[in-house]
Amino acid sequence: MRSTSNTIWAVFGLALILLLPAFAGGQWVKIFTSTTTFAMAAAGAGFLYTRLGMVSLVQVGLMGVGGWVTLRLNHAFNFPFEINLMVAGAVTMFLGNLIALPALRMRGLYLALITLMFAAGLDIVFTAKQFPNGADGFWGVGTTFAAEMRRPIFAQSDAAYLRYTMLWLVIGFVLIELHRRMAPGRAWALIRKSEAAALASGVNVTLYKTWAFGLSGLLAGLGGGLLAGSLGLLDAATFRASESVMLFALVIVGGARFWYGAVISAVLFRVVPGLLNNWGVDADLSLVIFGAALLHAVMSAPDGLAGQINGAVRALFSGRKSPENKGAKA
């Protein structure tokens, strides 16, 4: 049963990677690329929330850091895109670890609030300093238009770049899945059940909590770097603290227990506003629709939209046979 559904997902994912960039127009290729990068950040926040019950309200802020580092390196040195991206991921992973240090001593709301304070601080710095666009100096912000952003050699066009980003998202999902199946996953499961028990059975709670935050930061940083590669330059408006809160809210709505919940969250975050805009809905009224839908989803869907999809899919495949004890995939 599990392998069937895995195969189906793999085929579906592969088809999406091959077909979506080929058939989407210029605007939608851009929208789907953004969506994919935000899905990476959402996957990080979602896994942190379901595996450890920890809330990160700084994911979008960390994406900004990842994007900043990628742009900075791109304009300062002649490294290939991947190197810049990896360094960006390493920096945000380190930042994630740093944020985790106070997190070790805090729970629930307080932990969420300290990450929110980080996000708000980053917001202010981004607004004041903006993102490097090829000018001189450490901050590298000039007044003429941006210097070229080098993309990977085999992903120069927008469509190829969308495929490339989707591959990174798959790598991100695989990374999470590997963690889940190996030692860290077992340690996290134990910590989630009881920290006292984890400590008693010799699990290094500090290490694994820090590790989890680092992984989540890494995913956000890669997402931010990929977004920078897509747009060529970034703006502080993308990385407001309220956007970080909004992404987490959508992680809940999308359904954090399932890996495709992250995709749904990102679709809600980027595709839905794009659709509303395309349909000519007033920007202010889309906010109202968005806010109301968010409230409604939090009120009515315990496992998010992914939970509802999962229920429907399982009912379909198992002929409505004992849908509750199969265990969620993720």
């Binding site: 106070p102 709301l109 806010g291 939090v298």
Partner: protein, 317 residues
């Protein structure tokens, strides 16, 4: 009392430290100007923080739509003044909108997500905030507006700075509110019930505390506080819907300074944040990122709160 004095000493020391560090060599008069200016903004943070804490203690909801509710209040009041209504009537009308919006959320929306954990409840309230922001931006097209109170034109001289009565009023209001709410929490029956709810919700309901009534009261009171804060933001900061809506984040920083619990600490923390933010203007390095002050201070407070604790064990949050 001892505790309050300790916090006060800490706040004064922090402000003095920043003043000496960055403002060294500046005339006392100039320093005074920045301190007085910072106190007004600080008391705005504190006012917002007080509303957040009162509501959080009684209902367990950290309301991220506080800014949006205040914003709707001041926009409504501005509109009523434009329609030619007598000032006080317009202000009361604005406050009524704030109370109504808070009550609507508290009675209609919040109960349906009572089963969610506190973080999710907090995050979901952002949905309400952007819905309100959307409605207000739709109704009021972007144009320059100004919200004034008659107290804006009355002033006294303090430390060489002409300080309007409105600025004094916010500082005073914040102090009076903290004292008043603290006293009524400690002496009235409803106050007792609120404190019981804050301590343990399930036990409170078991011993027959009318939770619904107490919560409604808390939502209404918080709506009034958010509304008042919104009016003051509109007057002292600027009348722009999106700006006031997201002012809730520094207000949360002030609330954190009181550990989401102690009103006097929220007040003093908020004032200290305002003063430090203002004094950072002296520093060439930091003046462009001055608004970061609330977040750095709140993060430090959170760290200090948990110092000595190595690990957390499953608790009641």
């Amino acid at each position: 009392m001892w505790h309050v004095l300790r916090t006060a000493a800490l706040c004064v020391a922090a402000c003095a430290g920043v003043a000496l560090w960055f403002g060294a060599g500046k005339p006392a008069m100039v320093q005074g100007m920045f301190i007085v200016s910072g106190l007004a903004v600080g008391s705005l943070y504190a006012l917002g923080g007080i509303g957040l804490v009162v509501l959080y203690r009684a209902t367990g909801v950290l309301n991220l739509s506080a800014g949006a509710i205040g914003m709707a209040s001041v926009m409504a009041a501005w509109q009523l003044v434009q329609w030619g209504l007598f000032g006080p009537v317009a202000w009361v009308g604005g406050l009524a909108i704030g109370v109504a919006l808070a009550l609507f959320y508290g009675r209609v929306i919040a109960p349906q997500m009572a089963w969610r954990e506190p973080v999710v409840k907090a995050v979901a309230s952002l949905g309400y905030a952007i819905a309100i922001l959307g409605v207000v931006s739709f109704l009021f097209p972007d144009e320059p507006r100004k919200f004034s109170l008659p107290t804006d034109s009355m002033a006294v001289m303090i430390l060489g700075l002409r300080v309007t009565v409105t600025r004094l009023l916010v500082v005073l209001a914040a102090i009076v509110l903290v004292v008043g709410i603290t006293i009524s929490l400690n002496t009235t029956r409803v106050g007792l019930q609120m404190r019981a709810l804050a301590n343990n919700r399930s036990l409170s309901s078991l011993i027959g505390i009318p939770i619904l009534r107490v919560e409604t009261l808390a939502w209404g009171l918080s709506g009034l506080l958010f509304g008042f804060t919104g009016l003051m933001f509109g007057d002292l900061v600027r009348l722009e819907p999106s700006v006031i809506t997201f002012m809730v984040i520094p207000c949360i920083a002030a609330a954190i300074c009181g550990r989401l619990q102690s009103l006097p600490d929220v007040l003093m923390g908020g004032l200290a944040i305002g003063v430090i933010e203002s004094l950072l203007t002296f520093s060439d390095t930091f003046k462009q990122v001055r608004p970061i002050a609330p977040f750095v201070i709140a993060a430090l407070v959170l760290l200090a709160m948990n110092r000595g604790r190595r690990l957390t064990f499953a608790g009641d949050d």
